[in-house]
């Protein structure tokens, strides 16, 4: 399996090198690692999960290169091309494509969730986990730094009801409220939920610390 990932890495490495939105090759590696950990406990086709985890964000590259919004589904031709020479059954390839097409579903968005196969559920969980905990905090502030977004604008209330991936949050702290703090409710598997709980609590402690420092209390 590691050999297949290495082959794929060599093919996609270059296009992910200046990704700029926090979905770089390291993100793919982390999601792959977490997905495999989840697979150990939750089951599912290991190879399908590994490949889907590693190729799940190609739509972001298309989006960057075209400057236009690109849904995960629109990346499937590119994924098919990458899978062409790999020794996989037709059923496995279809599963991988399905995982990638549906990896970005949020229970707290208007549309909600639609999938039920374990492989996609695991990819969704692993992807969510990378936006939580210390790594989630690091990624979101890094994103804000790259795009000159304020850390926090205390005067503006947190008011958005539904999460919308296409709407930008006015500050990093607002992003915690519109998305990161909601991810815990968006987990599918038992193992994923347990890890998410810990990462969620870590984020809450961080915010508590952040606000008391912000006020100069300690």
């Amino acid at each position: 399996m590691e050999k297949i990932i290495k082959i794929l890495e060599n093919k996609i490495k270059k296009s992910f090198s200046k990704e700029g939105s926090g979905h770089d090759i390291y993100h793919l590696r982390r999601v792959l690692n977490s997905a495999l950990q989840l697979q150990k406990k939750e089951g599912g086709d290991k190879l399908v999960i590994a490949i889907a985890a590693f190729l799940h964000d190609l739509h972001r590259i298309i989006e960057r290169d075209t400057g236009k919004f690109c849904a995960p589904k629109e990346s499937l031709p590119k994924v098919r091309e990458l899978l062409k020479d790999l020794k996989l059954s037709v059923a496995q390839k279809d599963k991988i494509l399905h995982c990638i097409a549906y990896h970005e579903e949020y229970g707290f968005s208007k549309k909600g969730k639609t999938v039920s196969d374990i492989e996609t559920l695991i990819i969704q969980d692993a992807d969510n986990l990378d936006a939580m905990g210390a790594i989630g905090i690091g990624r979101t502030f890094s994103f804000s730094g790259a795009h000159s977004i304020s850390m926090w604008i205390p005067e503006k209330p947190f008011k958005r009801r539904y999460f919308d991936e296409n709407k930008k949050d006015i500050s990093t702290i607002h992003h915690f409220h519109s998305k990161l703090l909601k991810l815990k409710e968006n987990m599918n598997t038992k193992t994923g939920k347990a890890v998410a709980k810990q990462r969620h609590e870590f984020m809450e402690r961080f915010l508590k610390e952040f606000f008391s420092e912000w006020r100069g209390e300690k």
């Binding site: 200046k18 700029g20 926090g22 390291y26 982390r30 690692n33 977490s34 495999l36 950990q37 989840l38 986990l129 905990g133 210390a134 790594i135 905090i137 690091g138 990624r139 979101t140 502030f141 890094s142 994103f143 804000s144 730094g145 790259a146 795009h147 000159s148 977004i149 304020s150 850390m151 926090w152 990093t172 193992t191 890890v195 990462r199 870590f202 961080f206 915010l207 610390e209 952040f210 420092e213 912000w214 006020r215 100069g216 209390e217 300690k218």
Partner: protein
């Protein structure tokens, strides 16, 4: 905050809006201001007017420095000059104005001006504490994103890293290629020595707490990244 200081805040905010730098914006200034007051309450015989004015004005030269492509502008030096007419207009005594200017000059790391008075030490320390704790982490990761550096990266040898990427191979040397840097590396080369550079006891205590939080965060990050769930 009294009217006098509200007025200074407005002037500083307007000036800092001339440059887009989220780690030295008005929010940074206000955090330093609040923290300076927290520290000042623990110190004896402090001229609070000087602390308040200096904390608000310490980065007023920031936009001028970042908008000067030649790199010749030092925001502490120009900031001290800019502070004078503002304070004169608000009725500060010439002695207080000189004192505030000295605080502004000496807040900067690695300059020839060292903080001499309690007031200058307080402002200096409050500013330095911004590099650690949760706010320090937020600022550090913003820097990472801005310079396309690593969210997570550790090196086997800090010495080798210094040789390769820090000016003159020194551990406190200027970073040459920012994209090769990371928060873990910055902790090993700079942040962990923070307490040595603080003057007041209160700041040292706060610094120790914030540093512990900072390090705990980095340890956790390392575990998460290695796939340990």
């Amino acid at each position: 905050m009294t009217e006098k200081f509200q007025k200074i805040k407005e002037i500083v905010e307007k000036e800092l809006n001339q440059a887009k730098d989220s780690s030295h914006d008005i929010n940074h200034v206000m955090r330093v201001y609040n923290l300076a007051l927290t520290i000042a309450r623990q110190e004896q015989k402090v001229d609070l007017d000087v602390v308040e004015a200096a904390a608000l004005l310490h980065d007023i030269g920031g936009a001028k420095e970042s908008n000067d492509p030649s790199g010749q502008t030092d925001h502490a030096v120009i900031g001290a000059q800019m502070a004078e007419p503002i304070l004169e207009k608000l009725g500060f005594s010439s002695e207080q104005i000189k004192h505030v200017q000295a605080c502004i000059l000496s807040h900067r790391y690695r300059t020839d001006y060292k903080p001499e008075t309690t007031e200058a030490k307080i402002v200096h320390d409050a500013d330095k504490l911004e590099t650690v704790g949760a706010v320090g982490l937020a600022r550090a990761f913003s820097w990472i994103g801005k310079h396309d550096a690593h969210i997570y990266k550790k090196v086997d040898s800090i010495k080798d890293y210094a040789k390769e990427n820090l000016f003159a191979g020194k551990i406190n040397g200027r970073i040459m290629d920012k994209s090769k840097h990371s928060v873990h590396i910055n902790y090993e080369t700079k942040d962990k020595f923070l307490l040595e550079n603080l003057y007041t006891e209160t700041a040292k205590r706060i610094g120790q707490e914030r540093l512990t939080y900072f390090k705990g965060f980095l340890d956790r990050l390392e575990k998460e990244v290695s796939g340990e769930l």
